[in-house]
């Protein structure tokens, strides 16, 4: 007898939620964050239902921890970004400080951009922003970064390729890993 997806998800939740939460608590050492991330894990599974039906999950706990680990990586990365952003803001005069809501929004955007630029060196990131956002010439970027013009071109090509693969994925089946990241990025509430 086949069960409906929602009752399967409910069963998954009832059978494993407490276990997942205590697993996360051990990893994180913080009950509040563990509860949030456990919740997010199930939300993520619900959102991915059409790509990965609950009925096809053979090893529920292995699957749950795989998703939860990915969320943990995001969670810590976000905390790092937020801290760095607040530090950068502390350099600004009080009148220029954004509201709490704007800050939250910016951290969200930062996280999305950080994912897009994941794995690129600080110089490659800087070169790309100088070129695409500020419209600087390659020679000007080379001077700012203290590198050669061919190196700037290398940075730009690398950055564009990286961001493209993150955003749109690759047409090759072997790029599942990247696509997985992209899919999960898509389900981020915006």
């Amino acid at each position: 007898m086949s069960k409906s997806p929602s009752s399967l998800l409910q069963a998954l939740y009832l059978n494993h939620h407490a276990w997942l939460q205590s697993w996360l608590r051990r990893k994180l050492g913080c009950p509040d964050n563990a509860a949030d991330l456990a919740q997010d894990t199930f939300t993520r599974i619900l959102a991915a239902e059409d790509m990965r039906p609950v009925s096809e999950i053979a090893e529920p706990r292995a699957y749950l921890t795989t998703i939860a680990k990915r969320l943990m990586v995001d969670f810590f990365r976000r905390a790092d970004l937020e801290r760095a952003y607040l530090e950068a803001l502390s350099q600004l005069p009080e009148t220029m400080q954004p509201s709490a809501e704007e800050r939250l929004q910016t951290v969200q955007l930062l996280q999305e951009m950080d994912k897009l630029l994941d794995g690129l060196s600080a110089k490659a990131r800087a070169a790309w922003l100088y070129s695409r956002l500020d419209g600087l010439k390659h020679a000007e970027i080379a001077e700012l970064l203290g590198v050669s013009v061919p190196r700037v071109r290398q940075y730009l090509a690398r950055a564009a390729r990286q961001a493209y693969l993150m955003r749109y994925g690759s047409d090759e089946a072997s790029a599942n890993e990247i696509r997985g990241v992209r899919e999960s990025a898509r389900h981020e509430p915006s």
Binding site: V73, F76, D80, T106, L109, L110, M113, R161
Partner: protein
């Protein structure tokens, strides 16, 4: 008809990126513009790739704000990185900060080529007889290309003993987020301390160390490279290297399952032992700064705790084998306490 978001082939993507780079060089000509028009009209995928790249630009808009750009173009600091600035006398203190940090740091070993769990050690031998020993909670990837072989230390601690096989003529490099190491026929220990700091201790011959802000390819010159000699240690940070200083004794004793400390604070010793142990060991603040010298088996936490309680006026309690406390001995007298605090100064 393809969806505007579906990816193009690698070949078309490479061409589109070539075009984008060329058109943004500041040296592009009218001729380039005509050639681009021609390329764009040659196949619908070309135009799609071009538009997809243009849409990426839009997502960069938040970086117009200076603080946002700053965060995106600076390497992120580890939570405890500021403690790294001191001298190597504080290696154990840094290690304990890193161990603390490790408790809430994401374990990055899930997708690594080789990794060890808490308390595990593992031996990896490369075809040229280079031996890599993984300490507890360690993850490495081994990447090879035509020019070099790279051991990427993702987490934890490794010892590398370079091989002398004639089968291999590509140089070996150890890469961490903090910087890269170029061994010169040698043996050394590398340990990740925080998100972007690492400790290098050379136990034989010498190692060239360079911060991550230098090129990762060792065939490109980098002024910031420092040669670290035998019995010396150095802390790497993406922007800067510490001065080489004398290594603590027997920093590689873990490969024999031992921890050797000399006049170290109890809390630092316990933080070190905790790396090998799944449960939690808490040190009461009143005894954390007591000094201890000794050799402890890292795989036998009960023995190590017993050794500590014999050497110091502390008491070990054990809750279900998972939670251990080191607290002051109850019968410690007031006079003794005063004597201790005098000794510490």
């Amino acid at each position: 008809m393809s969806h505007p978001d579906s990816p193009v082939s690698r070949r078309v993507l490479d061409q589109a990126i070539d075009w984008q780079v060329r058109m943004s060089s500041g040296e592009n000509t009218e001729r380039d513009a005509i050639a681009l028009e021609f390329w764009l009209s040659a196949h619908p995928d070309h135009a799609r790739a071009w538009q997809q790249l243009a849409r990426l630009d839009a997502s960069l808009a938040p970086a117009e704000s200076q603080p946002v750009r700053h965060v995106l173009t600076q390497p992120l600091k580890a939570r405890k990185a500021k403690r790294i600035a001191g001298s190597l006398g504080a290696v154990l203190a840094m290690a304990s900060a890193a161990a603390l940090y490790g408790q809430y740091q994401p374990w990055s070993g899930w997708f690594a080529d080789y990794h060890t769990a808490t308390g595990e050690r593992q031996l990896v031998v490369l075809p040229d007889n280079t031996v890599i020993r993984l300490n507890t909670r360690t993850a490495i990837d081994i990447e090879e290309d035509a020019e070099q072989r790279t051991i990427v230390l993702r987490d934890g601690e490794i010892e590398v003993e370079t091989g002398h096989g004639a089968v291999e003529n590509r140089p070996l490099v150890v890469a961490t987020q903090a910087g890269t190491l170029r061994p010169l026929g040698t043996r050394f220990v590398v340990r990740k301390l925080g998100e972007d700091t690492a400790l290098l201790s050379v136990t034989q011959a010498a190692v060239g160390a360079r911060p991550a802000s230098c090129s990762r390819r060792d065939n490109e010159a980098c002024d910031a490279e420092v040669l670290v000699g035998e019995a010396q240690s150095i802390v790497l940070h993406p922007q800067v290297l510490s001065q080489p200083l004398a290594s603590p004794p027997l920093i590689d004793a873990w490969k024999d399952g031992m921890l050797v400390v000399e006049n170290a604070a109890l809390e630092d010793v316990v933080a070190e032992l905790s790396r090998y142990h799944v449960g939690v060991i808490r040190v009461h603040p009143d005894v954390g700064r007591l000094r201890i010298t000794g050799t402890f088996p890292v795989d036998d936490i009960d023995y190590s705790i017993a050794a500590i309680t014999q050497a110091l006026p502390v008491r070990g309690t054990n809750v279900a084998g998972l939670w251990r406390n080191l607290t002051p001995l109850k019968d410690i007298g007031f006079a003794q306490k005063r004597e201790q605090s005098v000794n510490e100064k």
